[in-house]
């Protein structure tokens, strides 16, 4: 199994008459799998909220979805289940799946009552996962339906970051409408995993299955992107590095002189990660490397460091890839069409986030404008579903109504990723679309 890196600039040419230029670098990381890929065991922990609000159909569907997950796993995989309300307890201790029926019975014994402390659940999950973390692919699915009333959100984040440092991945599933999308998104981002939205109980199974497929496709773990910048190249001030595929995640680089390191987490077969780096290039102090073309600037060198659980090796390095730029006299902008969709995906996320910030500050008109521009961006990248949801949210806000909890979660989900499964249209359908006010 090997790692492939490709680097593409948004526009490979630089205008020699300007002194600084801004460029985006799209880095795509993919895994080449060979036949023996599937031999690594999965180490899965299901962390399930069984607070009082989950009583009845919600908990039943979750139990059913969990049972179906068990059926899809191999007997060499490890399974553990943690149940939490305002406290957490181990329902199924970490074990290989030699007796799936006993595991399913234990899951069935969960009863709904009590409050919600997500961090207690995550803490126990990390303990259980650690028991089998050698040479496995460790993943946790954390499901909750409500706010972290009895818990501490900061602690959740810390546990999630800890999990990532141990090479484990945390995914979050929000059940229903009452959970906090900011908290669950942050936990998933810190834990290197995905966020899923179970809008209504009959979606539970499909969302669990989707995450399981993702977990099973992991080939390499604990991946880090290492960037080395030329002296005349610098990262943009504001949030310069972000992942855009498969989900949009803001990444925080660690700096060591001219080298920046960013954690990526799992590398999945058939599900490449694309990262956008926002750079500023200073033409004047460029070190022109006398290569084949005399005006080319070697701007960035990228490499991946990763662990391979299959071969039991850690700290492996991919070959380094260099991205360069060319200074041109008669410059005309030429946007690389392969990089454009990635920039649009990031724009869609950022614009939606700005809209949410403005809404929190009370600037309703500003939020409407940003949502509308996010909808336009979504259309430009061909994501019609996102465009519909974003525009509908903008219209609802404009008419003076607040967004429902379901609408807010849908808005967050479409901004973060390109959904494959069509979601339900929001319950409030605007009868007429008013024209946006002209500024």
């Amino acid at each position: 199994m090997s790692v492939n890196l490709s680097c593409d600039f948004s526009d490979r040419q630089l205008d020699s008459s300007q002194s600084t230029s801004q460029r985006q670098l799209a880095i795509t990381v993919s895994v080449d799998a060979d036949a023996s890929f599937s031999s690594t065991s999965l180490n899965l922990c299901l962390v399930l909220d069984h607070s009082g609000s989950m009583g009845g159909q919600p908990l039943d569907t979750v139990k059913k979805a969990a049972r179906e997950i068990i059926d899809q796993m191999n007997y060499t995989d490890y399974i553990s289940v943690v149940g939490f309300d305002h406290k957490a307890k181990v329902v199924v201790a970490n074990q290989t799946l030699t007796n799936p029926e006993a595991v399913k019975d234990n899951i069935q014994s969960l009863r709904a009552s009590g409050g919600t402390s997500i961090d207690e659940g995550i803490k126990l999950a990390l303990q259980e996962l650690s028991k089998a973390k050698q040479n496995t692919i460790s993943q946790a699915f954390v499901l909750t339906d409500g706010e972290n009333e009895h818990g501490d959100n900061q602690r959740c984040l810390q546990f999630s970051q800890l999990a990532a440092e141990y090479g484990m991945t945390l995914h979050t599933l929000g059940f229903g409408d009452s959970w906090n999308q900011d908290v669950l998104e942050k936990i998933a981002d810190a834990g290197g995993g995905a966020m899923a939205y179970i809008e209504n109980p009959d979606r539970a199974t499909s969302e669990f299955q989707r995450l399981l497929r993702r977990a099973k496709s992991v080939g390499l773990i604990n991946a880090h992107l290492i960037l080395k910048l030329a002296p005349n190249v610098r990262l943009a001030e504001l949030k310069p590095i972000a992942q855009v595929m498969p989900d949009t995640i803001e990444l925080e680089p660690e700096r060591n002189a001219d080298t920046y390191t960013v954690r990526l987490g799992d590398l999945m077969v058939g599900n490449d990660r694309t990262i956008i780096v926002n750079l500023y290039i200073n033409h004047n102090s460029a070190h022109i490397i006398p290569t084949t073309s005399p005006n080319s600037i070697q701007a960035v060198t990228a490499q991946i460091r990763y662990d391979d659980p299959q071969s039991k090796l850690e700290g492996l390095l991919s070959p380094a890839v260099t991205a360069d730029l060319i200074l041109i006299k008669d410059f005309k902008p030429q946007i690389n069409p392969q990089v454009q969709p990635s920039i649009l995906a990031l724009a869609k996320y950022r614009q939606t986030q700005l809209a949410e910030t403005k809404l929190k500050e009370g600037d309703r008109t500003g939020a409407v404008t940003m949502l509308q521009s996010a909808a336009k961006t979504a259309l430009q990248m061909g994501d019609r579903q996102a465009a519909t949801v974003l525009q509908a949210s903008a219209t609802t806000l404009q008419s003076g109504t607040d967004l429902s909890e379901a609408e807010r979660k849908q808005t967050r989900m479409v901004s973060k990723t390109v959904l494959q499964i069509p979601t339900q249209t929001p319950t409030q359908t605007p009868s007429q679309t008013p024209q946006p006010p002209t500024k």
Binding site: T20, K239, P240, N278, Y280, P333, R350, Q351
Partner: protein, 224 residues
């Protein structure tokens, strides 16, 4: 600093996408005004410093030879101006032979000798020169209406919808011209800053008067 039109984030020079929201940024370079040399943005229509029409091939200055020949004298009695190019709706000019006329090297035949002080407004967007009728103490600027009919009727100019029917007046007192917004809906800007209604502004040559926001109906005042 390039300010994002979408989220107002301040981006460093050289940015093509906003660092915050990745909206494509307009590419603006700075050039020099061919008339006065001050820096203007490449997408500007008029120079902010001298009013030069950056979009036109022929300079608007060519239509006003008097300015380049004479220094603008404010308080003194000024020499006669040439006959105006086109004046809409002005009343009869009263011809005088004032004693203190300098011999003006006017290119056109100075048959029309007006009263001591002559002044005009140059409509910036069309380069039309409007002579201020000197027989009137107060000159009303606006559009046709029943209350105070305008002496200078701007309804024929482009974008005149932004101008109120009773918009402003210019009065001549003690050898000076004063401009006042008489309660317009969209306001008046004097040299790009707001002129509140009721505030009388003493006009000087080169003053830029903008009726309404956005510099859509603008005049340059000139004494001759």
């Amino acid at each position: 600093m390039i300010i994002c039109p979408n989220c107002s984030h301040q981006n460093p020079d050289g940015a093509t996408y906003c660092d915050s929201c990745y909206t494509p940024l307009p590419v603006i370079t700075t050039v020099n005004c061919p008339s006065c040399g001050s820096p203007v943005q490449s997408d500007a229509s008029f120079c902010g410093s001298c009013g030069f029409n950056l979009k036109s091939a022929t300079q608007s200055i060519k239509n006003m030879p008097e300015e380049t020949d004479h220094p603008s004298t404010l308080e003194e009695i000024v020499p006669t101006p040439e006959s105006p190019d086109s004046i809409p709706d002005l009343p009869n000019e009263i011809e005088f032979e004032p004693e203190l006329i300098e011999s003006a090297p006017a290119e056109n035949n100075p048959h029309t000798q007006l009263q001591q002080v002559g002044a005009f407004l140059i409509h910036v967007q069309t380069n039309i020169k409007l002579e201020l009728p000197t027989n009137l103490q107060v000159i009303h600027i606006g559009k046709p209406n029943n209350m105070i009919p305008p002496d200078i009727d701007v309804s024929g100019f482009p974008d005149s919808d932004i101008v109120s029917r009773v918009h402003a007046d210019i009065r001549f007192e003690g050898n000076a011209f004063y401009f006042e917004d008489t309660g317009s809906s969209n306001g008046t800007y004097m040299n790009n800053s707001v002129l509140p209604a009721g505030n009388r502004h003493k006009l000087r040559s080169g003053d830029r008067i903008s009726l309404g926001k956005g510099d859509r109906v603008s005049f340059i005042f000139q004494m001759s």
